[in-house]
Amino acid sequence: MNRIEQRFAELRGSRRTGLIPFVTAGDPHAEVAAAVDLLHALVDAGADLIELGMPFSDPMADGPVIQRANERALSRHVGLTQVLAIARGFRQRDAGTPLVLMGYLNPIEIRGFERFAGEAATAGVDALLLVDAPQDDAAAVAALAAYGLHLIRLVAPTTEPARMETLARRASGFLYFVSITGTTGAARADAGAIAAQVAALRRQSAVPVAVGFGIRDAADALAFADCADAVVIGSALVDDLQHAHDAADACARAARFIRPIRAALDARKAA
């Protein structure tokens, strides 16, 4: 059993909703050690999986908060080499928390898709989520699978039913339901509007379903806990972390941000 399956099995066993924070590599601090400490702080505060953004100059699907995080990271020269170093550093002290790299295709293509897949697997990465990669690209999926990496498929509110079924059938790791028609963090997600679609997706899929884009706090997370196996929180966290005055403060902020959400999700289970 790989780390993602293992983690979702544990969540199911304890009837908990998964919590997946997103941070951009190199933001708010570029040093690899600081970035690794931040990821550990997220796990210590209650993260079940980690989504780590790979900086890109043209993040077309991202809202202003994550765009600026990308710009900050790039201004400190954080690219795929640093992302891999952060993954390796994280894995040295955490053998169990799944690590998903999220980003855009061009940096990976320029490095070489297969080369990067091999490097990511060696660094302890579990899955890639590529915003602008064709989700039915069999060659890319095969290249990732050869290294034991999952390609996380996304489903959006605009996805047509037949395609949703295909994506559910081919899903690997977990499915990511994009909760708003828009960019990351641009609007508050409405659980009522998408609950039926997420429920349908869960029925069709053998893998768990996470929901993200526009989930900001404990109240939002709770609203989606009824319909999803996990929730992703990105922009709101990134927005908070950018105000950190040093690496230790970033870790403290991460903990303060994640703990109440974790507590709310766990209290729901107990209720």
């Binding site: 043209d58 077309m60 710009e71 790039l74 795929l80 602008d132 605009t158 047509e160």
Partner: protein, 409 residues
Amino acid sequence: MKPLRKTEVEIDYNDYPDAQGRFGDYGGVYVAETLVAPLRELTETYLELRDDPAFQAELAHDLRHYVGRPSPIYCAERLSREVGGARILLKREDLNHTGAHKINNTVGQAMVARRMGKTRIIAETGAGQHGVASATVAARLGLECVVYMGETDIARQAINVFRMKLLGATVVPVSSGSKTLKDALNEALRDWVTNVRNTYYIIGTVAGPHPYPLMVRDFNAVVGREARAQMLEEYGRLPDAITACVGGGSNAIGLFHAFLNDRRVRIVGAEAAGEGIATGHHAASLAAGRPGVLHGNRTYVLCDDDGQITETHSISAGLDYPGVGPEHAFLKDSGRAEYVGVTDAEAMQAFHLLARTEGILAALESAHAIAQAIKLARELPREGLVLCNLSGRGDKDVHTIAAREGIAL
């Protein structure tokens, strides 16, 4: 294993793109999942309209009565004499309504938008010509229009910004990244992903995800179709060489497409070499870039070794773009077309020469094509014919030119 490639002479260029929107290794659909269904719907609608005689008849009517087509081919006698080589012929797209080839595409796409029942038009613009052409067709159909434009471009194309406002459009300044065309495209894509249910995105060049490279090419291909017939009728033969400037590449593919299967016609695209390709300050994606993925398609891009898209430079806002249409990438690899760099200085020189010998102020974009036509004319004998797409007029650029030459207006 890769499929065996056809040799250049075996290719029928009318066969591209394929059903997946691919021109050989290039093109395709590289977008966020939210846009997959809307693009499929757009593809279906467009392919239907493409074969619909009523749609094509209405388009032809509008091109004649609203745009002012056909545009003439003008023989630049004095320019040719001055250059001292082959005759230079100009396809006068600058005489179209709104002053550039861009209107050919927006008139067509506006009809597609209307068919799809969309109530809101968005567009990105660099030089402002596509923004003006989009605002124009939106006004004509009574649709809301929002145009994204980089802050750098707003500063250097103030006249076009005001024209868009006069036409009732909202111009949204884009302050991210390099504040030019690529960032305007990012922002337009973000708007579209958010408002896709009621919004039609008129992409202004032959880039973006399928079906845009096909659709924008089709709507601009009227330029080459007309030019080819005009050459046969007025000169009794095809030109020896044709040339156009290439930013995203819509005016170039518009001229080139009808000539692609005429293997004896030499085809040369002029990219913006800015301060010189060796300086790194340029926008020559084909001449100096590498295959990558940007703005929904696989094509040549200008990026660093980390895959980050690099900032480009050109005196002309319309060529200041780090990608290029995938069909041009295909034509470069197949060898059917050549792509060369023309510097800011060469474009300026050509601008002045054309103005003084022919009484035509060319757009700075088109001045790159004129510079290339001059080079080609010098290589050919006097009886040779070089056809150059004069894609737009230069009124919009007078402030940029004055500033560059230290003249206060």
